[in-house]
């Protein structure tokens, strides 16, 4: 396992390099010029060339790419073209907000889906099962840009319980987490329910019952644990998706996270900041996948990795 994990870690390098290379060339090749945005309407051609030269944006693109990689190797992501300060500092200021929102969404999704899925599986084809399936269908069908404002109108305006938007304490976190987490909760409910039902029919579960173990022990120790494997996969895939997909939720809820920062950076053609944001998202994705591998093993000790 140790060797496998080391191999996985080494794979990070080419994956990140690939992602960064793609982003570097895409952002430089799409139309739009940061110099125009920075200098505004009145600049002369000479002023623009001057600034282009100072920022080394007049170098051939491959030279720019090489110096970008060189700086990256030294841990330097450059300075944002508009925002004040170094890219690493700007991202560091925004990253906790996105982590907080993503984790909030995941916690709500797990807390909501697990009991529902277990109840549904235990009472298959009952009304509980049907309600659970209906709820998960609803959760899957509601887009964030619609659900967010709906929740705001109900909980912030009519009931007055929670703030409308912005980041603050726990009360600020509830609505955006719910908005972001509902889709994930819906998927988890469906997967876990199906997985539980499948495992419940396995021979070893029957054997456990035959051994005379209590029903709740059978569910907890033999069924749930084995049913978790596909769920872990989904959680890890979704978590990466949540990080990157928080853009809409962050915009609606005025959440100062990295999703909004990425959009703003792309709009203003802030090349260094776009690259920094993508690098951060790619690293998060890889780390999540890495942790998932470890979780697999904890959930199922039979899983081995390579030789």
């Amino acid at each position: 396992m140790k060797r496998y994990l080391v191999q996985r870690l080494l794979l990070f390098v080419p994956t990140l390099l690939g992602a960064l290379t793609l982003v570097f060339f895409f952002i430089h090749l799409i139309p739009g010029d940061p110099i125009e945005v920075m200098l505004g309407e009145t600049a002369s051609a000479a002023d623009k060339e001057d600034l282009r030269h100072a920022l080394a944006l007049d170098e051939p693109i491959f030279v720019q790419y090489a110096s970008f990689l060189g700086a990256l190797a030294r841990g330097d992501l450059g300075r944002s073209l508009y925002e004040q300060g170094a890219v690493t500092e700007i991202i560091r200021a925004r990253l906790p907000a996105t982590f907080e929102l993503t984790l909030g969404a995941m916690v709500l999704a797990v807390l909501g889906s697990f009991p529902l899925a277990i109840l549904a599986a235990l009472n298959r084809r009952s009304w509980i099962d049907r309600v659970a399936l209906l709820l998960s269908l609803l959760g899957l069908s509601m887009p964030n840009f619609w659900l967010g404002p709906l929740l705001m109108i109900i909980f912030s305006i009519h009931l007055g319980w929670l703030p409308v938007s912005g980041r603050g304490g726990f009360s600020h976190l509830l609505l955006p987490s719910l908005t972001l987490g509902l889709g994930m909760a819906a998927i988890l409910t469906r997967i876990l329910r199906a997985s539980l039902l499948q495992v419940a029919g396995e021979d070893y579960v029957q054997t456990a019952r035959a051994k005379g173990l209590g029903e709740s022990w059978v569910w907890l120790k033999h069924t749930l644990r084995n049913a978790l494997l596909p769920v872990i996969t989904i959680v890890s895939l979704q978590l990466g998706g949540l990080l990157a997909g928080a853009i809409i939720t962050e915009t609606i809820f005025s959440w100062p996270g990295i999703g909004r920062l990425t959009v703003q950076a792309i709009q203003t053609r802030d090349y260094p900041l776009v690259q920094g944001c993508v690098l951060t998202l790619a690293v998060s994705y890889l780390v999540i996948n890495f942790v998932t591998d470890i979780c697999y093993r904890l959930a199922d000790p039979r899983i081995t990795y390579g030789k």
Binding site: I30, P31, G32, D33, E36, V37, M38, L39, G40, E41, T42, A43, S44, A45, D47, K48, D50, A54, R79, Y82, E83, Q84, G85, I90, R94, P96, A97, F99, E100, L103, V107, P149, M152, I153, S156, I157, G160, P163, V164, S165, G166, R167, G168, G169, F170, S171, H172, T251, I252, F253, S254, P256, G257, R260, L261, Q264, I266, Q267, T268, R269
Partner: protein
Amino acid sequence: MILLSGGCRFPGSSDHPPGYLVVGIESNPLELDPRYATDANSVRIDALIYNSLLRADDRLRLRPELASEWKMTDERTYVFELRQHVKFHNGKALTARDVKYTYESMLDPRNHSPKRPLLRALEAVDALDTYRVRFRLSVPHAPFPEQFTIGIVPARSNGIETPGAEIPPGSGPFMLDTIDPGERITLKANPSYWEEKTPLAGIIFKIVPDAMVRALEFKKGTIDFLQNDLEPDMLPWLKKNTDAEFDAHEGTTFQYIGVNLNHPILKHREVRQAIALAIDRDSIIRHLLKGFATPASGLLSPIHWAYNGSVPQWSFNPEKAKRLLDHAGYPDPDGPGPLPRFRISFKTTNLDLRKRIAEALKEQLARVGIELEIRTYEWGTFYSDIKNGNFHLYSLAWVGVMDPDIYYQMFHSASIPPNGDNRGHYSNPELDRLLEQGRRTTDAAARKAVYVQVQRILADELPYIPLWWVKNVTVQNAAIKGFVPYPDGDLISLKKVSLQNRLP
């Protein structure tokens, strides 16, 4: 989860501390240092943090601010007498040396200030004594006084700097307290302001990107004040559901259709006039803009000192438009049938309202036989296309128009890109001559006469097809007293605003 948030704050007081006014804005200000600030949010916030030598009043006339007196000693020289006892927020006295430093740091090419091109005519700034400063220009340049509205920052020993590395203190009624990127900018009252102290404890600029959410925050009472940045559709809802005070007042933002004059069809003046006649501005303003605009005859609005009202007007007249198109040699091949006279593209941004306006224009032009092909783009791509002359027709707005010399940048043949913003490649020797004259003429009445002629020529030639002047809409909590709207959307009068019996 809570641990990760790093110093979690709890709601309540921090959201809306007593005595603070909360202003909702759409996006993060990009650069607050007044020597580099160009985006609207930064410029408006800066007006509260920094003082400038002069400042435009609510009729866009320049009035002394840091200057106690100023005069033009000859056509190329301006001398300012500074107010004494003005202090920066760090306690240092503001003197002629700081004024000199502020302007010289913008002129230094190493600092790459976007304001440097505007200061091209500036030859030298001399501190004559502690409170007297002289600006010398290389040539008479009548629009120059507008540059005296740039915020003054304290002198530093070292001239070169990294832009935005540190936001310098100002001397204005408010001082910068905290910046929470993407969340809010907090200003607190300057207790030792040289003018009368502001009644507010401070102002929070809360960044709320979504227009509907800004309206909901207002309804909830967590935002006290909004100016513009509202979807017209939200206003009726706010009117019905809150006891807010609404105000719509004439503004200077000019929305227009830009025309590529190198286009084989659009280069004909009659075609441009026909397009202008085919647009039913009143209907678009009534239905899509909910009345928050005024049909425009040109760039300068009636508020402006150089406005000329007696120019050709192109009110909605589709029949006349058809006749002009026939006359220009573009007859409708099948009359009211489906075939158009010709087809041109229209570029705009992908904002919802912009798309709906484009669709209305398409319908209206179709009625006179012109087929408009709408192309919407994300802002960066759109702007790049416009800058590069890659368009037939496009729609954009000029914001914050002050000095009429802006015509030079728009329509002088020397301003054809890459040297200016004459993106449609308009070229007219007579207009060139007038614009050069307007630049040199420092006498106000003579100068106005020049721009009266400029407006007449442009209204006839239509290198831009005027659409409307956008009104400034303010939505404010009933507790706010004393706000004075400015035509360019300036928020400086927030320094005099008080909050009376604000509801919890």
